[in-house]
Assembly symmetry: C2
Homo-oligomer: 446 residues x 2
């Protein structure tokens, strides 16, 4: 948008600027730079086809739906509040309940779509899943001995949120099955031996970002056992679980299998409803006991932190998400039939297109995994990929993707790139793959 | 709302709950308890007249306005994007720019209403003013030597946000003129002498919460000089500045007087537009220099933190606020003519009502200040007011207000209560004052 306000040339320059080193340490971390770089590259090459964007398809967006959802939720409130119009409007327009106003609708959604049964009081509606992550880590990080584990490669936002509370994130090796349990037990022992404490393990059990990998049922049960044995929480982030390749539900979520309240479940509506609403949630049904014996839910502690962070999640935005939930009888599976087909077809086309361009046996130096759904897959290439390689690909071959080193947190280039299928048309996939193949040929012959 | 999901009785109780003392220290602080208590009292006595609520009037709410603002902003985008409908819808519905999408409209609003001229790039649109506060403190708090000063009594959310980044808040005594400068210089010397560092002073220059007091022009200029001399920032929070008793603009904001970029300006739309949107902003035009000499705006650093906290402020919610700004040619003064009148009339009625019930000279033990606008005034009474006194007032006299000790942060009862005029009708003011007078009589004769 245009900046129509004149620059403040009249402002006299102060004696000194603020040195970056006087500001919070996360600002000097490579992570901040890498996020910046990735955004900038995409902006500098707007005509490049992007296999980098993790945003949902816009195919079915329509501003009419926002008006419709809002009215639908208002009608719902009128029945809840016995046709008291003023009260219904207040609920949407005034300051609201800290833990949210669509917690009961979310509980019904979890029951319908995921077989998860929770008391609505254990749900906190948040400003996207990112705030849910921050709140959980802020509550759990008491001292500098508290650490988080994360299956590596890891979603950048999980590491970023941990940095905001000065909490170290120790990687646990991933594997084609999702997680290397030997490495996990080694890590747990190592942390215990150094007098520190694992408070949580961050994990995306379904179609992880960036790997696309899902955990099998056995691995899920084993994680739950380990969490109980070693007394830590599993932070289960599940933005992509609905988007299975075959349209059938995958294995139960960790939370659905959680008989001992070891799982804090992080939910997002950005992929299944509307990114522009910035509404997510956290299910935290763990009990917390005060010194005087009083007991509350972990969700109540998250709410206290939230009251000092964002006060409450926009009731207006919640109303729009609530309207969508109501319109589809609480099922986002039902509300995402078209989107599911788009992602499934895109993933299929991407996998077919890779096989066409790199036929089996002919290009052993190029390989990729075959996720059972979600937005992402990982391509392994015969050279280390740093950010300059991406920039060359964008400029010379007009195709964008994400170097995997950004998800390992150490900045060391690896032979992998992440490809996203969520925000491209079929034609863009074909052209993008042609461009990608040309780019790979150049580097192979290099 | 009803909880129609069955309680998870099937969940086996885990061996142990989480001890509160293992969670973040802010959760054990009296502040968390006091917020809880104040909310609970209001819920337990819904029929009591509330001089406690700081929320804006709902008199002019209407869900139609939300639909209208949204469409208005969409039309605006169509002109900005050359009638590209898909792009306009994407801007509102998709993930968005970290620093916001209505920054240019906010810059125009600041120019029109406040005479503040800033580059829109120095504005970050936030999830209410509370997130703006948190972001600023998170960026400024580097080490345990960094402290914040706050004019006492202080808005509870400022102390709460500081607690989330483990930053001590040292009080500076307030005065009938707003701030005790002797105490401020004493504090500055004391902090310097102990090797710590004042990063910021939090101040509400116009109709402060809870005191209702405003700073005069001289005091504003003196604060700016002190900030430059002692190298700290002024965090100017200005949610009430528009609501002057005489309808005329007050003295310029600190930011409007800020020639050396010493002021970080915190803005809210919750009182002037719509609390349910949860949209606020921060103006941070300070320069930040990296070790390699690169220079950026403080706003860019806030944006980096925000990307790991809430990703971006709901574009949908921003669109609604943007629509209101457009409808009133960027003037919230123009857009709040009716609200201004309501608050002005309420404040007048409250002051007149107090004088009627406590005529001058007859009740020297009861006094109050006469703010020039805003939502709040402070009543001084002849006894220390703790939370049990409030509870008695609610139960026996059906009138709610806020014990002032909550704003001093130490929990020590003081002889003062805060009265709010923003969320009551004229009839409620009269009845509430009758109830309040009865309550005071009882305590006087007690």
């Amino acid at each position: 948008m245009s900046a129509e306000v004149p620059n403040p040339a009249a402002v006299r320059d102060p004696a000194g600027a603020i040195p970056l080193e006087d500001l919070h340490s996360s600002l000097g971390h490579p992570l901040a730079e890498s996020m910046n770089f990735l955004n900038e590259v995409a902006q500098r090459y707007p005509d490049a086809i992007s296999f980098a964007a993790g945003r949902p398809t816009e195919e079915f967006f329509g501003i009419d739906s926002i008006h419709r959802y809002l009215d639908r939720f208002r009608e719902h409130l009128l029945t809840v509040f016995d046709c008291d119009e003023a009260r219904a409007e207040r609920e949407i327009m005034q300051y609201g309940r800290t833990k949210g106003i669509i917690h009961d609708l979310i509980a019904r959604n979890l029951a319908v779509d995921e077989g998860i049964t929770v008391d609505p009081e254990s749900i906190v509606v948040t400003v996207g899943c990112q705030e849910a992550l921050f709140l959980t880590l802020r509550v759990l990080r008491r001292t500098s001995d508290d650490v988080m584990l994360a299956v590596s490669p890891t979603y950048v936002g999980a590491v970023g949120a941990a940095q905001l509370v000065d909490m170290p994130v120790l990687p646990v090796a991933g594997s084609p099955e999702g997680i290397d349990f030997d490495d996990l037990t080694r890590r747990l022992d190592e942390v215990a031996a150094t007098g520190r404490r694992v408070r949580a393990l961050y994990v995306v059990a379904d179609f992880a970002n960036p790997s696309g990998v899902s955990l099998g049922l056995e691995a899920r049960l084993r994680l739950l056992r380990l969490a109980a044995e070693h007394d830590f929480l599993l932070l289960e982030d599940n933005p992509y679980g609905l988007f299975t390749s075959d349209g059938e539900p995958g294995p139960p979520t960790l939370k659905a299998l959680d008989t001992e309240r070891r799982v804090v479940y992080l939910g997002s509506f950005s992929k299944t409803a509307l990114p522009g609403a910035r509404v997510g949630y956290v299910v935290a049904d763990q009990r917390v006991t005060a010194a005087d014996g009083r007991e509350e839910l972990l969700a109540d502690q998250l709410g206290r932190i939230k009251s000092m962070l964002t006060v409450n999640t926009s009731p207006l935005a919640q109303a729009v998400i609530g309207g969508k939930l109501l319109e589809h009888d609480f099922s986002l599976r039902a509300g995402n039939v078209r989107e599911q087909r788009t992602y499934r077809d895109n993933l299929r086309r991407m996998l077919d297109g890779l096989r066409d361009r790199f036929p089996p046996g002919r290009h052993p130096e190029v390989s990729w995994n075959v996720p059972g759904g979600g937005f992402f897959l990982v391509l392994t290439v015969p050279f280390a990929v740093d950010d300059r390689v991406l920039e060359h690909s964008a400029r010379a071959h007009r195709v964008l993707w994400t170097p995997m080193h950004h998800f390992y947190g150490d900045g060391v280039p690896v032979n992998q790139i992440r490809l996203s299928v969520s925000h491209v048309t079929p034609a863009e996939i074909e052209t993008g793959l042609d461009n990608l193949a040309a780019f790979l040929r150049e580097y192979r012959d290099h």
